[in-house]
């Protein structure tokens, strides 16, 4: 797509890419499913945001509203046997891979029925049956772990791969560079997916790195890379497809830089201001780059989607989420003994 590794160019311009997507090349069923999944993620996260604002959900929640397309686009090429890792902002990854809204909503309430049985909260999500092997909030920490999962996949010899989702901030960590070098040297089947949303907490990438793009790191490590509009599901799917085919063919790791933007603050529900950052004008422009409405308009103009159906996607998502939320509120908390019984396999941890 964009072959210049040094700069984001137009993709960084909030006033561009507001028009409907061009989707002719992709499969409309996949796009319709993707649209539905993005809507579900949006609605789940809005619910979590509401509950955070009401003080009902207290664990730190990092919402990915506005960033649904990378999760859904990549998940479309994840197959059974692959191993996916995420970070602190991974509700979308969890849901995109097929995770249960109830499991997520129970987890953010610390309930025993949560995906991590109430031991993790929003930042620690796991769903092995759907390929999500873990998300953790130490920035960059799962990048080497994903490489190891890729090494395991290579040893298994089934053509499976690992996927590592992380943000632009994580590319500033040593773990990222060690992992890229190791994966390139050992030809590990791993897909590195950087969701470049310009921010690491309160700091814009301009204040953290000498360039807005992080593809240059892939180039330095001799890892094949591609960059795409991370708010364009079709574009994300296109670059993912190519990368995944190369990985499964044994060519080693690939790196994707998907340029996107988060609509909410770094943590919590606030939209216009968070950890001291006001982004009003930028945010208004970025909302016109909404991955959901741009795709919906494009599908409508192709005749693949009508107003009724779209409306149904939203109402269905809302009812799924409300039901899941209500059920999760009635679920129980982990028993007291869980604190010590879940530390070691087979034995209790020492009490004192």
């Amino acid at each position: 797509m964009y072959r210049n590794a040094s700069s984001l160019g137009n993709l960084a311009d909030a006033d561009r890419y507001h028009e409907p997507l061009s989707i002719d090349a992709d499969d409309t069923t996949a796009l319709l499913n993707g649209l539905q999944r993005m809507i579900l993620i949006r609605v789940v996260e809005e619910k979590i945001g509401d509950m955070v604002s009401q003080g009902v959900v207290k664990c730190p929640c990092h919402l990915a509203i506005g960033q649904e397309a990378p999760a859904v686009g990549v998940a479309g090429y994840v197959r059974k046997g692959d191993r996916v890792f995420g970070a602190h902002r991974s509700h979308g990854h969890f849901l995109a891979l097929g995770g249960s809204p109830h499991g997520l909503l129970a987890e953010v309430q610390g309930k025993d029925t949560g995906v991590s049985r109430g031991m993790g909260g929003s930042m620690h999500l796991i769903d092995i049956p759907n390929g999500l092997f873990g998300t953790v909030p130490i920035v960059g920490a799962t990048i080497p772990i994903a490489v190891g999962a890729g090494i395991a996949a290579k040893m298994d010899g089934n053509g499976d791969m690992a996927v590592s989702f992380f943000g632009d901030g994580a590319t500033e960590e040593g773990a990222f560079h060690e992992s890229m070098n190791l994966a390139a040297t050992m030809k590990v089947p791993v897909l590195f997916v950087c969701e470049n949303n310009f921010f690491s907490s309160h700091l814009h990438i301009n204040l953290r790195q000498p360039d807005t793009s992080v593809c240059r790191y892939a180039e330095a490590h001799r890892v094949g890379w591609a960059r795409a509009d991370g708010n364009d599901l079709a574009a994300v799917r296109a670059v993912t497809k190519e990368a995944v085919e190369a990985i499964r063919a044994g060519e080693g790791p690939r790196f994707l830089e998907l340029v996107t933007y988060r609509w909410r603050g770094h943590v919590g529900h606030r939209e216009d201001e968070d950890v001291g950052v006001k982004r009003k004008d930028d945010l208004a422009a970025w909302k016109l780059r909404d991955p959901i409405s741009r795709l919906a308009v494009a599908l409508e103009s192709l005749g693949a989607l009508d107003r009724q159906q779209l409306k149904r996607y939203w109402t269905d998502a809302h009812s799924v989420v409300e039901e899941a939320w209500a059920a999760a509120t009635h679920d129980g908390y982990p028993p007291a003994k869980a604190l010590l019984s879940r530390v070691y396999s087979g034995t209790m941890a020492r009490k004192h």
Binding site: R83, F85, G114, V115, S116, R117, G118, M119, G120, H124, I126, I128, F133, G134, V136, I138, A141, T142, I143, P144, I145, A146, V147, G148, A149, G150, I151, A152, A153, M155, D156, A162, G174, A175, E178, S179, N181, L182, T185, M186, P334, A338, S341, R342, V343, Y344, S345, G346, T347, A349, R350
Partner: protein, 337 residues
């Protein structure tokens, strides 16, 4: 003619452990720096790469964090990797992966998954190597719930506890000490042990004093006990073997019997393993049973020096332990302070 018994050194016993694991458990692989080098990790892995292939004995770039994380990732996918750090000091670059990732993985995901990674790090002290090439840090790591910490002091344990560590479903930090590599003994046949059932072991019995140590310190304790015995003082010697989770049962029992405890550790004093040993005893034993206040012998709270006279006074010796033992039983005035 009677055959001389075949003895095996501590380093060679570790190699035996790896050979057994690689030969019998296809899910085991090893990764780290120096694994293809004949000298770097001592005589503990020689030629394993040619025997088992370089896909299972992997030498890596200088990436302690990356390799430890990668080993963890493979562990989460059904393998039993051993990541090897030629020095504990270098492993510090991987502390996040050990402490915040591997040790927490099971608990933070609700006990649903396990992370059977073994991190082997070699303690390589002395020899004027100075502050950044001499650390052991077992006290740090024994502080971490979820991380089993193993320190063998004999060749048999070096082999069998390595095997048990790798076969354990929990993350294990296995620390071996180059100063023990000269020890030799006749090894019994290999038996796969459940690490969760392994713990401190009484290696000598006596009624006057309890000496407690781990790794090289346990070896020093055994030597000191032999010398003290010549002075008429009989010691219980306890080799801790598994520092975390610590099973203090044996320590408590022995302290109740002897009423005197000397805890020896080759790590620093403050918040250290020796303090943990004493605290575990003091909490459980009626003070009226104790015949003297428990004491500890540790490194002084200073980074390792390079200069050899300073180095000589830095590390606990058998002589020093003997003197502290004598002082503790009141057989002699304390001459060291």
């Amino acid at each position: 003619m009677k055959q001389a018994p075949v003895t095996t050194g501590y380093g060679a016993a570790i190699r035996d452990g790896f050979e057994y694991l690689l030969a019998n458990h296809p899910s085991v692989f090893t990764i780290g720096q120096g694994l293809w080098s004949p000298w770097y990790v001592g005589n503990s892995m020689t030629d394993l790469d040619s025997q088992f292939g370089r896909e299972r004995v992997i030498d890596t770039p200088v990436s302690e964090l990356g390799c430890t994380g990668a080993a963890l990732g493979a562990a989460l996918c059904g393998y039993r990797p051993v990541v090897i750090h030629p020095r504990v000091d270098f492993m510090l670059l991987a502390v996040d992966q050990i402490v915040s990732q591997a040790a927490k993985w099971r608990s933070m995901f609700g006990g649903q998954v396990c992370a059977p990674i073994t991190v082997r790090a070699i303690i390589n002290r002395g020899g004027e190597q100075g502050a950044q090439h001499s650390q052991s840090l077992q006290s740090w790591f024994a502080h971490i719930p979820g991380l089993r910490v193993v320190m063998p002091s004999t060749p048999t344990d070096a082999r069998d506890l390595l095997i048990a560590s790798v076969l354990s479903d929990d993350p294990v930090l296995y620390l071996d000490d180059r100063w023990l590599y000269g020890l030799e003994e006749e090894l019994p046949p290999i038996e796969e042990r459940n690490l969760a059932l392994e713990g401190p072991r009484l290696t000598r019995t006596g009624q006057d004093l309890t000496l407690v140590g781990c790794s090289y310190s346990a070896h020093l304790c055994r030597e000191a006990a032999a010398r003290l015995s010549a002075n008429g003082i009989e010691c219980d010697v306890i080799d801790i073997r598994v520092l975390n989770p610590l099973d203090a049962t044996l320590l408590i029992k022995s302290a109740k019997k002897t009423g005197r405890v000397l805890a020896v550790d080759g790590d620093w004093r403050s918040c250290g393993m020796a303090a943990e040993v004493i605290a575990s005893i003091v909490e459980a034993v009626d003070p009226r049973v104790m015949r003297a206040a428990p004491r500890r012998v540790t490194l002084p709270d200073a980074p390792a020096p390079t200069s050899s006279p300073l180095e000589r006074s830095y590390y606990p010796t058998v002589d020093y332990i003997v003197q502290r033992g004598l002082a503790l039983v009141g057989a002699q005035q304390e001459t060291f302070e």
